[in-house]
């Protein structure tokens, strides 16, 4: 069943058109990866879906047309966005960051906090520390845990591996994968490292200058000659 479907999604910054009509589909329980070079429009696509920039076309999430909705209502519908560069709140403590992740929830969040501290013990050890004092890897974990505090059905994750050591990246991807497989969390992931992306994805979209130029399941993309040359180094 289709959870997210964008059709002819367009977005621009001022006069500059960046997305020229993007069609992307994420089914319930899928892990979908967006690949693409710098400046292709990956981040812009994520922003358009989460409602943080003006956009046009159609975005249907779980039967609702959300292209006209603001960021707040989109979170409430169940989409959480981990922005590129993490966007953790450096003057708030680790725990406060998690609490604000649950901003839209009215019920008790203590058990969720416990849970993410168990998943990421390093965050638990630093729960009263200011987020600004964490390492890059820890901040990325915090950004993901914070997004999950809203109990989303779709997680948008923008280049979580950026600037992280391979080992930390593996740990993070492990967590994402198990959330996806064990709990059926649907994930739309932006990733520059094609090898990594193809290992984890059910489905891949390749973006070039604001357009989808190739898409398919991980195997067929891995077999695509153009992609091998451009993204897999051979």
């Amino acid at each position: 069943m289709s959870l997210l479907q964008t059709t002819g999604l367009r977005a621009s910054y001022g006069q500059v058109d960046v997305l020229l009509g993007i069609d992307i589909e994420v089914n319930q329980g899928e892990m979908v990866v967006i690949l693409g070079a710098n400046g292709a429009g990956k981040t812009t696509t994520m922003r358009a879906v989460s409602g943080t920039i003006p956009r046009s076309g159609s975005i249907v999430f779980d039967g609702h047309e959300i292209v006209t909705q603001n960021a707040e209502s989109i979170v409430r519908l169940g989409i959480a966005h981990v922005p590129q560069g993490r966007g953790t709140f450096s003057d708030l403590t680790v725990e406060e960051n998690l609490r604000i992740g649950a901003y839209i929830r009215k019920d008790s969040v203590e058990s969720d906090i416990e849970r993410w501290f168990e998943t990421f013990p390093r965050l638990g050890e630093r729960k009263s520390q200011k987020a600004g004092s964490l390492s890059g890897g820890e901040q990325q974990m915090l950004a993901i845990a914070r997004a999950l505090m809203s109990r989303p059905r779709l997680l948008l994750c923008d280049e979580p591996s950026l600037g992280l050591a391979p080992l930390v990246t593996q740990e993070l991807f492990g967590v994402l994968k198990s959330l996806n497989q064990q709990e059926g969390l649907s994930v739309l992931l932006v990733e520059q490292n094609a090898n990594l992306a193809l290992k984890i994805a059910n489905k891949v979209y390749l973006l070039e200058t604001g357009q989808v130029v190739a898409s398919g399941d991980a195997e067929s993309i891995a077999g695509d000659e153009r992609i091998r040359r451009a993204y897999l180094g051979g």
Binding site: S50, T52, V75, D91, I100, Y103
Partner: protein, 355 residues
């Protein structure tokens, strides 16, 4: 270095000792000081409230406002007009001023807060500059009494508060202004504290840190900014009411009604420590102390001061005050509260529980 466990007996003892010391100080001032000193504290309380209100907007949410003198003025004039023209009992004017300032604050914030940074500073600067001009406007003279302002709006008869006994004369007025100021200050402090420690407070800091990330957490950034601006405006108006009630006059040239007021609130907040709850309190006390100490320095000073400033034929008071504030900011870029925290950490550390 001393180490104290959080929640231990020693920790509690230190806390209780601090609270006791503050309480004794608060009672000592109005019972044992001369009238002028009591008045200085009353005006410090007023300034602290204004700086606290600005702190919500600038310190916590990161929105620059240089227009808070106008909200102070709205409070001051609301009280004066309601008491003089409509015979209101002074106590009720606090509510009216808070409501009017809240509405005006939100109306200004709605279009203005969509713009950021320097532009916001410019628009609020214009508000601060225009406000006194508006008060002097001929067509509003029926309301504001134009350039001469409104005077003798004090309490006719001081209310009787159980623990104060009967208050009379100039001394009585000062003592009453002191306690009234303290009461409003405590209320304003509790409102700020309540806001900051709640989910709203976290969302304010989140907006300051990263507006877009706050939005994707589901924080309605514009609405939050507008509301906090309105709340801040109404707190600042309370300070204005206090000032009118304790001095009895309000004019378009009044120090805190003009642009200078906005600058003073800003200074107090920054000197004390922006984005901290106790910052405005420390800043306000230090500012009033410095202001009164330097004010005594005249052209006839001797010694070092006379040597340095002897060439002027004006009192160097404002200049010295300004220099002192610059020195404080150089040595304590995060405010006096920040400096205090850094220094005290070298002597005592509080260890969190369960470690």
């Amino acid at each position: 270095m001393l180490k104290i466990k959080e929640g231990s007996v020693v920790h509690w003892a230190v806390r209780v000792a601090c609270v006791l010391a503050i309480a004794i100080f608060i009672v000592y001032i109005p019972t044992h000081s001369e009238t002028a000193r009591i008045g200085q504290f009353a005006s410090a309380f007023t300034l602290i409230i204004a700086a606290m209100s600005l702190n919500l907007v600038l310190g916590y949410t990161g929105q620059i406002s240089i227009g808070h003198s106008a909200f102070f003025g709205i409070g001051g004039y609301t009280a004066a007009i309601l008491i003089r023209d409509h015979g209101w009992s002074p106590g009720y004017t606090f509510y009216a001023a808070a409501i009017i300032a809240f509405i005006v604050g939100c109306l200004i914030a709605m279009p203005v807060l969509r713009i950021r940074g320097a532009y916001l500073a410019l628009v609020t600067l214009a508000v601060a500059v225009l406000f006194p001009t508006l008060l002097r406007w001929k067509k509003l003279e029926w309301l504001t009494s134009g350039a001469k302002g409104i005077d003798s709006v004090k309490y006719d008869k001081l209310p009787v508060w159980p623990f104060l006994g009967e208050l009379k004369g100039r001394d009585g007025r000062a003592v009453f202004a002191y306690w009234l100021g303290l009461l409003v200050l405590v209320i304003a402090f509790l409102i700020c504290r309540g806001l900051i420690k709640s989910r709203v407070g976290r969302s304010l800091i989140a907006i300051r840190d990263n507006e877009t990330a706050a939005a994707v957490m589901g924080v309605n950034v514009t609405r939050t900014k507008v509301l906090i601006f309105g709340i801040s405006a109404s707190l600042c108006a309370l300070a204005g009411v206090l000032s009118t009630l304790s001095t009895g006059v309000v004019t378009p040239d009044g120090q805190y009604v003009t642009l200078l007021g906005s600058i003073i609130f800003l200074l107090i907040m920054v000197v004390g420590g922006a984005g901290t709850l106790s910052g405005p309190i420390i800043g306000g006390l230090v500012y009033v102390w410095l202001d009164n100490t330097t004010r005594g320095i005249g052209t006839d000073s001797r010694g070092v001061v006379g040597f340095i400033f002897g060439w002027t034929n004006q009192s160097p008071a404002t200049l010295i005050l300004g220099l002192a504030l610059i020195v404080i900011m150089l040595f304590a870029p995060t405010g006096l509260v920040g400096l205090f925290r850094k220094l005290s950490r070298r002597i005592v550390t509080i260890e969190p529980q369960g470690q």
